[in-house]
Subunit: 158 residues, 2 copies
């Protein structure tokens, strides 16, 4: 449970990835480093497609299967967090960013990060009382973002 800032600690974070990979006897490939860098550099969560799109700029020729396998690896290593928010699309966050909830705007469809703890100690205790041991959790709020709230009769733009 060590949280760190995304920008200033970038080097540390990158080192952390190398360390984790090395510990597990996994290879430190440029693809893995780049994919990880994109995720950590992005303030908000990203989708697999977004990652592949950004990769095209700096490292053309990376395939989606590689992106997916890397994301799956990172998820299992615990360095990123995977969640189903958009309809059939998985989104990815840094695993050691401080816990936050997500907000999906019903009008524009965008997803925002909210500085709200998604899981409370109360949640964990309540779940435990029903026999569940909680490891992590995602809170997705639905409603209207600031922009869409102000223009009450806006249309869907995404």
């Amino acid at each position: 449970m060590g949280f760190m800032q995304a920008s200033t600690e970038q080097r540390t974070v990158q080192a952390n990835l190398d360390e984790v990979l090395h510990e597990k006897g996994l290879r430190i490939t440029p693809q893995r480093k780049l994919i990880f860098r994109i995720i950590t550099a992005t303030a908000q969560h990203v989708s697999a497609q977004q990652i592949q799109q950004e990769l095209e700029d700096v490292f053309p020729g990376i395939s989606l299967p590689t992106v997916y396998s890397t994301l799956e690896l990172f998820t299992q290593l615990g360095v990123i967090h995977k969640m189903a928010i958009n309809d059939g699309e998985m989104l990815y966050d840094t695993g050691w960013s401080h816990p936050h909830a997500h907000m999906k705007c019903n009008r524009c469809g965008r997803i925002f990060d909210l500085d709200i703890p998604p899981v409370t100690q109360q949640d964990i205790r309540s779940a435990a009382s029903e026999g569940f041991s909680v490891d992590s959790g995602d809170l997705l709020l639905h409603g209207l973002c600031r922009e869409c709230s102000s223009k009450a009769d806006a249309k869907v733009e995404d």
Copy 2:
């Protein structure tokens, strides 16, 4: 726990659907009634495929597109609640069941209902302070269910 009995309240709920449909000038078709009945009769959330599978037993020949369009209609009418929990799969709950969180077991993959309010007043206030107006929300906890907790070295069975 906390859910309506399939038989006692079923009529009321069913009447509620008819009412909503009638109010909006929408047709009350046997497919819609059946799909709705399945969702309300199911203690837990269901997927589109589960619904279609159950439909096959009592009303063979219902197509998945019909299931989806009906689910989408119900969602927009507010009589059911749609959420992305399983990887690329949407799950559906009754819209007027009392709010509850969901728990996904990392081992067996099953999803359980938890008697925990997914969204707190604090969440709503916090979101409002950032300019968001919250309409609803989903809380998905990850961890181990009771069964999988007890048998520590169990395998994935779903």
